[in-house]
Symmetry: C2
Subunit: 359 residues, 2 copies
């Protein structure tokens, strides 16, 4: 209906010849666009649920996009995938560069797919926003896993804040789970806050270590040890076997100095050689033991609920920010205030007052 | 005036005997409270500007308070202190536990006060929010500096997010500068994100290291090295002297592999023994050289402006959050949505939608 016909006055005369609403050019265009949009999201959702890796990749790219249009579609995507999600085991893996994360994840992933599981590997990489480096960037480091039909590997998105990467990874988990992946591995490098982020979205947190010369505890952040559900000492091969065993003993002793976790689990220490595929099945077994134990005692579900509460707050906060910065009036005033700071005509505190009073 | 008299109807009869407005009990009470509040902020500002350490301490405590009333007063405090601030040199110092930060800061602080400067020492300690540990908590570790009339030491505030600690520290810098401190030292421990925070609020960023056995570069985060304006190898005494010199050479070589900084400064490496008070004046000299060089080339002011822009965004974002969470309607709905998550009746994404649509 045209705008004129919306007049509800009793004096309003009905038009003799009315153009059918469905033929209105703008309305038809709108409908067409809506259909197109709906189709594309629907198609992606269908693809994902049927385990189509290309659809999954495209959907994650959509989540990572900063374009307003894509963000709307991403929201719809998540909404449709949510009923199919939440059933996988989420495993966080951290360790400094050189510890052999790629080799470990490849062997661990293969051990899972060989026992009939489906594995997705994601990454949280805050360093990529600064140095533009990227973990998992070089898929050739996981040659066999990349070729595995039951594995999906996604390099980390770059050029964003840690908070942004966290949101995108949480949403990517949902999509991977909807695509039927039973195990989601989230890789991160040992640079402080990123471990906390990965810990906040996983069921099991694994710290990968090397046996070094001397004091095994030097250089490890207390916070990361406190978060770890297991410490696995990699490269326990050749001449390293003895040192790895010693490191295992030392870590074990150290772990017993920490207060017990509220879920009753004592962090385990294991050794392995990802290179020689030694000790990997033991890691798998430990994790599945952990999951069944936690599920039986109700801790698994409890932790998930705590994580969901945390996600709620994080989601609200990130949307508060993006709504603010996308507001056109604010955008204009922010530009003006930044210029005033540049000219030394205001302070950050005064400028913030002006901006917030505009809301 | 009483509420009754506010009736503006023409039929309203004026009371024969009117109590003078100034004698109204509630108005008098309000005025008294206002006077009290105003006095107390004014008193604090006066105290701070006159260099009164007790007033400065009380003001920082006010900044750290989460009570709505104190936050209002804190805002007024900052506003009044700002014209007296911005004139100090701000130095960030980081290093892992055991590197000798306290001893170094004590000797460095004393070297500054002995040359007529005034030194304030603050701390950014994100670990305190988790483990309730605290750097600078034990003032006895800086016995001489504590007794120094021209030094002010403030332990880190605990029980807050890194973002909250950052805001409080930025505001504490303003207050210390208004109190006439010429050098503000911000201490932090090497746990990732906190360095970035300290780097974002200082003019000079110093990484304190130890000479270890073996590879000097192991275990150091690339990001922190990139941020450092100088690496100082501490404990270069006794049998350690040789190892320290070797470490200095290795760091120097490594630093030259990094791309040059935009301000033209090449990060320096020095050795010192804080314990024996060796090499400390060299550190002071290097920093004052840096400052004059940067001021001459205009980089100093440019960096401050960039930092102020960053502070503006940080201030806006933290206020957006606190305004949201302090809104009583939101508070109630948030509680409800969290209960729904607990009962598995909603997802974090849906709950966030509900909350944000209420704004």
């Amino acid at each position: 209906m045209s705008k004129k016909e919306k007049n509800t006055s009793a004096l309003n005369e009905k038009q003799g010849v009315e153009q059918p609403a469905t033929l209105s050019k703008t309305a038809a265009e709108k409908l067409k666009n809506q259909r197109k949009k709906k189709q594309s999201v629907d198609e992606l959702v269908n693809g994902i649920i049927n385990g189509d890796k290309t659809a999954l990749s495209r959907a994650i790219t959509m989540i990572e996009s900063t374009a307003q249009k894509h963000q709307q579609q991403a929201k719809a995507l998540i909404k449709h995938c949510l009923p199919y999600a939440n059933n996988a085991v989420r495993i966080g893996i951290t360790g400094v560069p050189g510890v052999g994360k790629s080799t470990f994840i490849e062997q661990f992933g293969i051990s899972l797919t060989q026992s009939g599981k489906k594995v997705a590997v994601l990454a949280v990489d805050p360093s990529s926003s600064v140095s533009k480096g990227s973990i998992l960037g070089d898929k050739t480091r996981m040659e066999s896993l990349v070729k595995d039909a039951n594995a999906f590997i996604r390099p980390s998105s770059s050029g964003d804040s840690l908070g942004g990467v966290a949101r995108k990874t949480r949403e990517a988990i949902i999509l991977c789970e909807a695509a039927g992946y039973t195990h989601i591995i989230i890789e991160t490098v040992g640079v402080g806050q990123s471990e906390t982020v990965v810990h906040s979205m996983t069921d099991f947190f694994l710290l990968l270590k090397l046996a070094g010369a001397g004091d095994e505890l030097q250089g490890i952040k207390r916070g990361i040890i406190e978060m770890a559900d297991a410490i696995v000492i990699n490269k326990a091969d050749g001449e390293n076997v003895k040192a790895a065993k010693l490191a295992k003993t030392e870590f074990n002793r150290a772990l017993h100095l920490y207060p017990p976790k509220t879920n009753g689990w004592t962090a385990k220490t294991l050794t392995c050689s990802a290179l020689n595929n030694n000790g990997i099945t033991e890691v798998s077994r430990m994790i599945s033991d952990f999951i069944s134990e936690m599920k039986k005692a109700g801790h698994f579900q409890k932790k998930r609920i705590e994580q969901h509460k945390f996600w709620l707050l994080q989601t609200v906060e990130s949307r508060l920010k993006s709504d603010f910065y996308n507001n056109t009036t604010i955008k204009k005033e922010l530009k003006f205030q930044l210029e005033k700071i540049e000219a030394n005509e205001t302070t950050p505190f005064e400028a913030a007052d002006v901006l917030l009073e505009m809301l």
